[in-house]
Symmetry: C2
Subunit: 579 residues, 2 copies
Amino acid sequence: MIHLLAAATLDPSDITRLMIALAVLLGLARVLGELARRFNQPMVLGEILAGVLLGPTVLGYISPVGMEWLFPASGYEEGRIALDSFVTVSAIMLLLVAGLEVDLSVVWKQGKAALLVSTTGMVIPFALGFGLAYGLPNVIGFGGESDMLMPFALFVGIAMSITALPVIAKILMDLNMFRSDMGMLILSSAMVNDLVGWIGFAIVLALISSGEATGGTGDLLVTIGLTLLFVGVMLTLGRWLVHKTLPFIQAHSTWPGGVLSFVMVMSLLCAAITEAIGIHSIFGAFIVGVAIGDSKHLREKTRETISQFITNIFAPIFFAGIGLRVNFLEHFDLLAVVLVMAVAILGKVIGCYFGAVWAKLSKRESWAIGFGMSARGAMEIILGQLAMSHGLISQKLFVAIVIMAIGTSMLAGPAMQGVLGRRQKRRLNDYLPDKSFAGQIQGNDRKQAIEQLALTAAKITGIHHSQIGEAVWQREQIESTGLPNALAVPHARLANLKQPVIVIGQSNSGIDFDSPDGTLAEIICMILSPESMPESQLEMLAAVAEAFHTEQSRRDCLAAANLTEFKAALATSARSEHS
Amino acid sequence: MIHLLAAATLDPSDITRLMIALAVLLGLARVLGELARRFNQPMVLGEILAGVLLGPTVLGYISPVGMEWLFPASGYEEGRIALDSFVTVSAIMLLLVAGLEVDLSVVWKQGKAALLVSTTGMVIPFALGFGLAYGLPNVIGFGGESDMLMPFALFVGIAMSITALPVIAKILMDLNMFRSDMGMLILSSAMVNDLVGWIGFAIVLALISSGEATGGTGDLLVTIGLTLLFVGVMLTLGRWLVHKTLPFIQAHSTWPGGVLSFVMVMSLLCAAITEAIGIHSIFGAFIVGVAIGDSKHLREKTRETISQFITNIFAPIFFAGIGLRVNFLEHFDLLAVVLVMAVAILGKVIGCYFGAVWAKLSKRESWAIGFGMSARGAMEIILGQLAMSHGLISQKLFVAIVIMAIGTSMLAGPAMQGVLGRRQKRRLNDYLPDKSFAGQIQGNDRKQAIEQLALTAAKITGIHHSQIGEAVWQREQIESTGLPNALAVPHARLANLKQPVIVIGQSNSGIDFDSPDGTLAEIICMILSPESMPESQLEMLAAVAEAFHTEQSRRDCLAAANLTEFKAALATSARSEHS
């Protein structure tokens, strides 16, 4: 979108080039983002990496001409304006989505514990960050004039205390802890963190603006007063009005189109208000997101449509664009990175640990909460980007913040797992190796079906098919494994099996596995678990049950012609992670 | 988004102003669009009207200062570039969505009839349009140099022959004919129309470019050859590759995010290719849309996420932007409007009529097909916009084309209804007047429940409640009206009732209406039909059954606290219109 605008006359060759640039940027950002996700790393890691590869750090080093051809933005005025504008719009949308994630009613339910964890979890990293920045401004990368030292230190303190709600939510879901007490405590503390942190950041922005403009302390107080008034009004009256308006819009307009437009219009208006107040437009979008996301009348589908579009189109271009504009090698400073990283992790983990202990949680739980809360992510990068564009921080510190944000996001999940001894929840797709798809079963006989699946399993496991077939058949005779809704899960434990594995067969005509509801089995999942991992059998059974919870998923899976289509059918009918 | 970019320095007051401008534009466009839809008119009518109200035609007339404050785009270079770019991106996205709607497999199924209707339905309006433009170029508004007369005449001919697939689909759904044979014939003919029409338009663009550039006939032939090659490759090899790639993406990436990004990247790349060939980028987006939309692996949810976002954010701003830039009063020319409108309607209706008769349809059906196909819409406006920006047509003709596009869209539905004697399908929401919501029923007795609903019905209809209650109770005693899934539909015909009406009651504890599946009724819909309209009873029963086809809709409706929330629950759980 941006680069389109860089062309002064928009002649065909410019349009061609700029569309290719956008396509390459978006494409690579998404591919690397997906790869990162495959290895359980935050998507933003891959997205920024795409920019690093295509920007001055790598492509610009290898082929300056190629980079200049694809991304000529750096050169001239129009390019800069367009880029600024796109960054502004993207940041507004990203903050809107972040705001939608905040659910104040969850916070109220958690009450005192959430307040304690979030307070100590903010105060300590803030203090450490403030101290670091005030004490060693040039070591970590102060970018402004000396009269900006106070805003700079405040900014670093706040950057240390804001968490990454979406990253944390994702980690909790992976560990199957999203709905647990501890999960809710972590989430609500993170929500308070974000709310307070962004208000604080708005005030820092006011400080910067008042420093930039000629206005004095009076102006500053007015700005801070108006900011707090805006937050107060939006989270009470505004929230109530949204809650009352949503049913009206849903009743009288196309759906979800009406709500979608309403959300956009509200975001733009509130962004305009906060911009007029003298803080940044993204703050208005965040607060309006909180106000709207809180309403139980906002349907899941609307939320998803908004966040899908923004997460998959705007965010990748935005983050890749960051990698594109900063030379990460040139501005990498080990000392700054180590200091920022150390303060970020220590401050958050220790802060939250004490808050949690204070709220009477066990020590182990408190450590887990500390590590969970230490995840930063996209938000810190947006924050840093704004601070850099205001000349408050240098590229050196920006690079350190980006690395810190990604590093903590990568660390939080494994650290929580380690402390709690929990494993990641696996889905059915994770148990299906190549060639685990047996296709249509011949005939309608249960024993024959098991034998056919055993043949497929033999190829994967290296165990002789007669041994597998016999073990499963013996188990089958003890108690039949038909499930309701045309599903069957013949299974066995095998001594010489190395990894838990599932083999899939289909039967259009159905095979009688003696299910409780009398249906014939159309999807047969043969579950094989190693004797050394007895718990894996139950986990696989749960994964199968979850995968086929809808009629739709069974129908799609039955129509699949190969393993890829089968996995696609499972993925596209998976329960939405939020609902 | 656009206007953001008009600010040369992006200082806070510019950002504030531009966000307000965008919010006002989007907000008004959506409100008027929804209003138009309420009166069964095309949304694009309301969207353009919003621009007309906010632009030079009205606001600029009343308060030039106000308009200049909100929309300063007309003044300076950056604004123009930004606007051009936004129009390009929006048009690409709109054409992508239009392409996604084209399903070639539907066309193959209809075979010869579709080919006949689409051929005569294109040739005749094309010939008339070409003749009009060639014969009276200045009367209708030729905008270019005299050597451009041939491209101009070709353009007008094509503008007369392209239909509006989304408008037609909507009309067919409203008339409950979407899945009928005639509906499929109309749709597939319209798809062929669009495909051929856009290829023709691409060739006209090539003609214009070769006229603009110094290149001669050789260049032109190369461009046309490349265009046809691109279409050929994309609709065979490209289509096959997409079909093979989609399951892989769905199996190995987040969903629907992965597919969403894939679609965007493909659109940008193909847009770049067609731009490089020398025709417009939107053509590439359209063809890629056709190639992708054809795959049965493209899930409905992905299609919907894309089209929701584009229809509700990009399209309204795009069309309102058109109203913003053209003074519709100043450039309104009655003769041009009448001529364009007459040729557009006559050409299409007569052309399709003969094609349909030729394909052995009855005369009445043939007229209906002619009227249905005569709907133009958004596409003609995009087409006109491009032609205007190339200096091929004057503002006068552009205004005439916009009016023709909207006028024919408004006419098509009622004309089809008239010819076929069909009425629009009404949904449950359409039968619920103000105060038709009785809320929670007291007690668990069937007769008492009917009496309570009769009280509510009495207030709406003016008929005494005892008369209503008695009629319904008598009917209830003949045969109980409990339906499966906790629903009951007590009903009666009343002599002195003017309009069919439904009254809603809820019961959390459930009331025994003796339903076949033994469930207690939780939602009770009392259906009252006038004796003079005996068919309305069955229509209302069907509307109730359709409204509560999912468990989710019943649960949401049961939780509704008033009529607005109830209507919102119905609207948000309605079956997707496409699926």
